[in-house]
């Protein structure tokens, strides 16, 4: 087992958890969970531990349960384009297994040798490649979740189309482990693009960079991702192109033409590695333990005004244009109210100093009518608040 798996202790919002359990089988996990019930204890669930601080202030936790050793690929059927994995499989592990059959999943997790698929699913976040490839929630065709009673419940299956029973795959997606420990994910996978390139176009203003991005978004050229961000030299539009190897040169050229026809860039940079388009995104969206990272649902059509305003207020910004999301990051923040921008009213705070978390729900406002449903869900799946207590929306 790699040493990375056994990174202890775990620190969440300033609290240190030294007792970390590493069940190696479903039975061991069930026993651990039952002991939780028996002892009246509370546990934090961890995957690779790359984003343990995401969520509301929770706890305290007597111990943590890591899925690090539940990391087997259970089933892989390339011809059916399906794969079943345990939650502790890292994104890299899955990517490498798929690559052997020229298949892939379009997950952009920043620390892919540590980020687990269970963690990616529980946080419910995808990177900008969701534009071309959809997000993880679109590829999960089955799920198994173990409740605090140690009982596994499954939904979905191993077929790519299935409407048998309720869609629990969506319920647990982004639920941050509030309703149980994800113990198995069945994925639908895709043929890998045979070639990928990144184009980075630099502009003076956010409006121009955004106009170029929208020209590409509304074209028929199918960019895999489009990101607009502020960089030292101004504003940058980063585009990832995926295509058959025979077609990639022509496609890149056509994309640059479309963008330049909208607004000619000051500079163009082209790289062989499609992933370069993500580096600026990661720099902004990545976790800052001492600062603040917000995800703002700002539609593409409203972004040209929002981006410079955010930048003027001191935020590093990055717009995932195709998804209508803007990520904003600041190394330090005194108070949420002083954040300076109306848009923060609807923010999800991906990272926030603990003393500020105490003042807000990091998931943003939850519609009133939905609140009793969320409470009943938690009551139904984890009535004694044994798992990840307090960390989900509404402090559930």
């Amino acid at each position: 087992m790699s040493s990375e798996v056994e990174q202890v202790p775990i620190v969440v919002d300033g609290d240190e958890i030294t007792d970390v359990r590493f069940p190696e089988s479903q039975q061991e996990l069930a026993e651990t969970l039952r002991s939780l019930q028996r002892d009246g204890a509370h546990a934090l669930i961890v995957g690779g531990g790359t984003r343990p601080a995401f969520g509301n202030l929770g706890g305290p936790f007597e111990f943590a349960i890591s899925t690090g050793k539940l990391n087997r690929i259970l089933q892989y059927e390339p011809d059916n384009m399906t794969m079943a994995v345990e939650p502790g499989c890292t994104i890299l592990q899955i990517r490498e297994a798929l690559a052997a059959n020229r298949q892939s999943i379009a997950l952009d997790a920043a620390h892919d040798s540590r980020s687990t698929i269970g963690g990616a699913y529980a946080t419910g976040m995808s990177g900008p490649r969701r534009l071309g490839g959809g997000s993880l929630k679109d590829w999960v065709i089955g799920v198994e979740v173990m409740g605090p009673d140690g009982v596994n419940a499954k939904a979905g299956g191993m077929v790519v189309k299935n409407v048998t029973g309720f869609d629990m795959m969506h319920l647990h997606y982004g639920a941050l482990g509030a309703f149980g420990v994800v113990t198995r994910l069945n994925l639908k996978v895709f043929p890998a693009p045979t070639a990928s390139r990144s184009i980075q176009l630099t502009y003076d203003s956010a409006e121009d960079a955004h106009a170029a991005a929208v020209a590409l978004l509304t074209s028929q050229l199918l960019p895999a991702s489009i990101v607009v961000s502020n960089v030292p030299s101004g504003w940058q539009t980063s585009v990832r192109c995926d295509a058959p190897a025979e077609a990639i040169d022509l496609l890149v050229q056509r994309m640059m033409d479309v963008a330049a026809r909208a607004v000619a860039p000051n500079a163009t940079d082209l790289t062989e590695d499609g992933n370069n388009a993500l580096s600026t995104f990661r720099a902004v969206a990545d976790l800052a333990t001492d600062g603040a990272v917000a995800r703002l649902p700002i539609r593409a059509s409203l972004q040209p005004a929002a981006l410079p305003r955010l930048a003027d207020a001191g935020w590093a910004v990055c717009a995932d244009v195709g998804s209508g999301l803007v990520y904003a990051r600041r190394p330090s923040i005194e108070s949420i109210k002083d954040a300076g921008i109306d848009a923060f009213a609807s923010a999800t705070w991906l990272s926030l100093p603990p003393h500020l978390k105490a003042d807000c729900d990091v998931f943003g406002p939850t519609p009133e009518a939905v609140q009793p449903i969320l409470r009943r869900l938690k009551d139904s799946f984890d009535p004694k608040r044994r798992l990840n207590r307090g960390r989900f929306a509404l402090g559930l």
């Binding site: 009982v151 189309k161 869609d167 999800t348 009943r376």
Partner: protein, 487 residues
């Protein structure tokens, strides 16, 4: 229901929507006893009233009236469902969406539209085609079915192989919840922070809420579309070609198969140009960038020939493409030429299991002496065997249902599932026990009860008859009291 209560109910409903939009006479209500499902289900149950509201607020108020009378609520779109989902099996108030058909907003740059639930699926794509966008989920019934019905059933369709099922295309929903509140869940961005109740509502068959508006994702029309028709000497060779195409890393927009019986019926009706001497035809649509489509068209033709295709033809004009598709989309209807009735199964197997599943269909056809036509989404492994019969012949319905059960059991054994796209409704609820344990169902019941503690929204659907959502609650109470329970 007591006469006085009934009159009061009808008065209250009329006060919300106007008298003209409350149907309560037996003749008028008989229309709402049916959907497109099997005769064994449809036709038996009648709602107390069917109400046709015009706005979300009216839907909310109708729900409130029903709740005040302790009556079940059954949402209904166009009634094309094949699993008896829109049948009022416990009476109550049926809420029919056919007047709520407006497209309220279209945002090209943000790539979404807000529509009312009664809007016919195809009408949305038609209305936005000139802007260069379409709504990707395309059930074969898309000329008739509603978007609300698509959402409730998480419907599929030929293009779902590449574009995904309905849930991939719903960003947010306005719903009336079982407590009578009207609210939005989800929103215009791709990620909802923290919880995804939109995702849980899609596919819940009207048991968790009534959809009053949908925020749907719009997909850019592809630059290039190619449609190929390949004919094969056996179903097996066609199935192997399907696997070979996918294994080659090609993801067609759709990959549909039809067997000889279907080809005969379709050709007689529409003259689409399907070869009459073939045992199977594959309809392959490729779309995307010019360069990619050109690459893949060559590869698909080569792979089909490698798997014994007798003929591979590429439609060159849009009219030719449409004609090839017409045959597929209208196929179910043309089978009326061969028999007065058909019973349609909707099951799904891992794609590589298609050859053996189809062989089993042949076996069932012989064993039960039933003609079975196959027209289905081969790329997804989603089978639609249509068993042809005459319901006025003694014992026919029973024989067909037994054959259907045998098929379902086989597909589940092969790693498949109960329904690929048509839903569970009343028809298949007992089959859920074939794939799910009591613990699995208890978790689903937890979702149901969190939304609908009184179990008044489309009751007696989805969950097996013998399974009680209430039973799950007792288990939870034990958990509350003791801190743990013994299973």
């Amino acid at each position: 229901m007591a006469t006085q209560d009934r009159s009061e109910l009808l008065r209250s409903l009329a006060a919300v929507v106007g008298e003209a939009w409350v149907v309560s006479d037996p003749a008028g209500l008989s229309v709402y006893q049916y959907d497109a499902s099997d005769e064994a289900i449809a036709g038996i149950h009648q709602p107390v009233a069917a109400v046709l509201p015009a706005t979300a607020e009216e839907v909310r108020d109708v729900v409130r009236v029903a709740l005040a009378h302790g009556l079940p609520v059954v949402p209904r779109g166009a009634g094309t469902g094949l699993a008896g989902g829109a049948i009022a099996c416990r009476g109550g108030v049926m809420i029919v969406m056919t007047r709520m058909t407006r497209i309220l907003e279209v945002h090209e740059v943000d790539r979404y539209a807000i529509v009312e639930p009664g809007l016919i699926n195809l009408d949305l794509s038609t209305a936005i085609a000139h802007r260069g966008y379409f709504f990707a989920p395309d059930p074969a019934s898309q000329r008739a079915c509603s978007i609300g019905g698509n959402v409730a059933n998480n419907s599929g369709g030929p293009h779902c192989l590449k574009y995904g099922v309905t849930s991939n295309h719903i960003l947010g929903l306005e719903v009336v919840l079982p407590d009578g509140s009207l609210t939005w869940v989800g929103g215009s961005s791709a990620e909802t922070p923290g919880f995804d109740l939109t995702g849980a509502l899609v596919g819940s068959e009207g048991t968790l809420g009534v959809v009053t508006k949908a925020m749907v994702r719009l997909t850019r029309t592809p630059e290039e579309v190619a449609v190929l028709l390949a004919s094969f000497p056996t179903m097996e060779s066609a199935s192997r070609a399907v696997t070979a195409i996918i294994a080659d890393g090609i993801l067609p927009a759709s990959l549909e198969m039809m067997d000889a019986l279907t080809i005969t019926a379709v050709e007689a009706a529409f003259h689409c140009g399907y070869p009459l001497d073939a045992a199977a035809v594959l309809l392959v649509e490729l779309d995307g960038l010019r360069e990619t489509v050109a690459e893949h068209r060559e590869a698909v033709a080569r792979l089909c020939r490698l798997h014994d295709a007798q003929q591979v033809r590429s439609a060159t004009t849009k009219a030719e493409q449409d004609l090839l598709w017409l045959g597929r989309k209208a196929a179910f209807g043309t089978l009326g030429r061969l028999a007065p009735n058909y019973y349609l199964q909707d099951t799904v197997v891992p794609r590589t299991k298609l050859p053996s599943a189809l062989e089993f269909v042949g076996q069932i056809s012989r064993d039960f002496d039933i003609q079975i036509a196959n027209v289905f989404h081969a790329g997804d492994g989603n089978l639609h065997p249509l068993m042809l019969f005459d319901r006025y012949r003694a014992g026919e319905i029973q024989r067909v249902l037994e054959a259907g059960d045998a098929l379902l059991a086989h597909c589940i054994d092969a790693g498949g599932s109960v329904s690929g796209e048509h839903g569970i409704g009343m028809e298949k609820k007992d089959a859920l026990s074939l794939v799910f344990t009591t613990d699995d169902l208890a978790a689903m019941a937890g979702l149901k009860r969190s939304f609908d503690p009184r179990e008044l929204f489309n009751p007696d659907k989805v969950f097996p008859t013998a399974f009680s959502c209430g039973g799950f609650n007792l288990k939870q109470q034990a958990l509350e009291v003791d801190g743990m329970y013994v299973v």
